[in-house]
């Protein structure tokens, strides 16, 4: 197995607060890894550092043997890292299919001039993008709602739509930020299968989740952080019995 993503001494400060404190961990290609920790531990900040939304103060992010810490977000996406957001950030006033087409964007070429003159290449590309988008919708089970406005979908389906949009960027690595947030048990169970299916397509998964049943069932490896620092790493069984993790959760989080 090869290492796809590797965080080295990653550190981010907001004013006096150290949100992420010298975090190190590796993600193997083809794995499903969970990043867990109490609320406010800095999990989402780690994601934002990987995807270039924030710039690290120290340390480095290595993706596929290349440092990506200074790249803009859209470049990182085109290198093959896609993400979803903790607070759903869909394009609410646009149709589901268009949301997924946003993901196709970085795999397309044609610009404004090609659009105005509707070149054969442009038309072929549009057709292919639409096919990809429909396939991704089908993958998450939303094909029948392709022309609905994103804001009219149920909460769970909005989360799935975000996943479809991320998949449409044809990533090698996908970051899911609380994908089961707001889902019922049935939806969560289906989501676990979807996550496995994503991995089966050869896409490495890194996720944040509070729903422990999902984490334990889906993830093969867990990284635990508290107050910005990594406190444990290992397979789910080992983490469950780790005293430091138990203390962190019982001490600060009611869940």
């Amino acid at each position: 197995m090869t290492t796809l993503l590797s965080l080295k001494n990653l550190t981010k400060r907001f004013g006096g607060l150290v949100a992420v404190d010298h975090v190190n961990f590796d993600v193997e290609a083809g794995a499903i890894v969970g990043l867990i920790g109490p609320n406010g531990a800095g999990k989402t900040t780690v994601f934002n550092l990987i995807t270039g939304n924030y710039r690290p103060d120290e340390g480095d992010v290595i993706f596929d043997n290349q440092s990506i810490k200074t790249l803009p977000t859209h470049k990182i996406v085109s290198l093959g890292i896609a993400r979803t957001f903790q607070t759903i950030r869909l394009f609410h006033k646009l149709a589901a299919i268009e949301n997924v087409l946003a993901g196709c964007h970085c795999r397309m070429q044609s610009g404004s001039l090609a659009a105005m003159f509707r070149t054969p290449t442009q038309r072929r590309e549009e057709h292919q993008a639409l096919q990809t988008a429909l396939k991704e919708l089908e993958f998450v089970g939303l094909q029948s709602q392709a022309d609905q406005l994103a804001e009219n979908l149920s909460y769970g389906n909005q989360r799935l739509l975000e996943i479809a949009r991320a998949l449409a960027t044809q990533p090698r690595f996908i970051i899911l930020d609380e994908p089961a947030g707001g889902m019922n048990n049935q939806e969560t169970a289906a989501l676990i299968q979807t996550i496995r299916n994503i991995r089966d397509r050869g896409i490495t998964v890194l996720l944040i989740e509070h729903d422990m049943s999902l984490v334990m069932e889906a993830c093969e490896q867990l990284v635990v952080i508290e107050n910005g620092a990594k406190i444990a790493e290992g397979d789910p069984q080992a983490i469950q019995s780790d005293p430091k993790v138990i203390e962190a959760y019982l001490g600060t989080d009611e869940e």
């Binding site: 803009p72 977000t73 957001f85 394009f91 006033k93 964007h105 003159f117 392709a146």
Partner: protein, 319 residues
């Protein structure tokens, strides 16, 4: 439903096309102004309507185009219509240079910077910058355009030039809207963090939106200069930018048909209200408020884009 709409569009187009036959020169000229502002507002619509950038300085690009045409035409006597792309290019380049450092400003901060830009341009024109703008006198003696040997002179001749240009603009911009480019602008308007996170280079698209909008405004400036044969800084003041801003918002952000209707209303109503003499602008102001209250998202907001989803699902894999 769709057919009915097409019929309405067709009827309106035909009526418009034939209107110079039954309208007098004055009303034809009103329609010429509506046409010019339709094109200008469509170009602003790319920036303001589709990309959602608060841009209240569009008259600056329009002015750059008009002055480019006027200066080159009066000094080197190059025919007007050859200068059409040149005017667009100058305005587009200006947009590239000006927009780059300010593109990251949010909402109202961008608004005031664009207002500042249009004012700086106007003041520079008034002060006869580089000695080529003629100061507040402006530039006069601009030639009339000649198209395939036909000298365009009378209002009805300009009517077909302007609305021909408008038709081309509508055609091209409609394609632009329904493309990867148009969608990208909408994505960054709705949520630029999510757009960037979906792999869209938002800064680049904002800039290109400015450049395309400015390019078109510059070309309209060219036609305006040829139509007026004299241009002066007062034709490009901040108020003109406000008028364009109102057209886009009143008609419906991001909606081509809305913007066209907006241009008809914002330019046409003050003419229709001429019978009220000095009260005409008062009534117009009240009308603006009323129309906005009754149609809060603009009179004709954009329709959702259509994708051949059903068709593709029907015979998937055959393409």
């Amino acid at each position: 439903m769709k057919d009915k709409r097409l019929v309405i569009y067709a009827v309106i187009s035909v009526v418009l096309l034939l209107s110079p036959l039954f309208l007098n020169a004055y009303w034809v000229d009103v329609l010429n102004n509506v046409g010019l502002y339709t094109i200008l507002a469509l170009s602003l619509n790319i920036i303001l309507g589709h990309a959602g950038l608060f841009h209240m300085g569009h008259a600056a690009f329009y002015a750059l185009g008009a002055y480019t045409t006027a200066i080159i035409n009066t000094t080197y006597h190059i025919p007007i219509l050859w200068l059409l792309p040149v005017s667009g290019l100058v305005a587009g380049l200006a947009a590239l240079v000006v927009a780059r450092p300010i593109i990251h400003l949010r909402g109202d901060y961008l608004l005031i910077v664009t207002i500042g830009f249009v004012e700086i341009v106007r003041i520079a024109l008034v002060n006869n910058v580089f000695g080529i703008t003629g100061g507040s006198n402006g530039i006069f003696g601009i030639n009339r355009p000649i198209l395939f040997g036909w000298k365009i002179n009378k209002p009805w001749e300009f009517f077909y030039l302007i609305w021909g240009f408008a038709a081309v603009t509508i055609f091209l911009f409609n394609r632009l809207e329904n493309s990867r480019f148009g969608r990208a602008l909408n994505f960054l308007r709705e949520d630029d963090v999510a757009a960037e996170g979906s792999g869209i280079n938002t800064a680049h698209y904002k800039l290109i939106a400015f450049v395309i909008g400015a390019f078109w405004a510059g070309m309209v400036g060219n036609i305006f200069a040829a139509k007026m044969t004299i241009i002066a800084p007062e034709s490009f003041n901040f108020w003109e930018s406000v008028v364009l801003f109102m057209i886009v918002l009143l008609g419906g952000r991001g909606s081509i048909r809305g913007v066209i209707l907006g241009a008809f209303l914002v330019l046409g109503l003050p003419e229709i209200f001429r019978q009220f003499a000095t009260a005409r602008m008062l009534i117009f102001g009240a009308f603006m408020v009323a129309m906005m209250i009754f149609r809060t998202e603009g009179i004709l907001p954009p329709l959702p884009r259509k994708y051949p989803i059903a068709k593709m699902l029907g015979r998937e894999g055959s393409a």
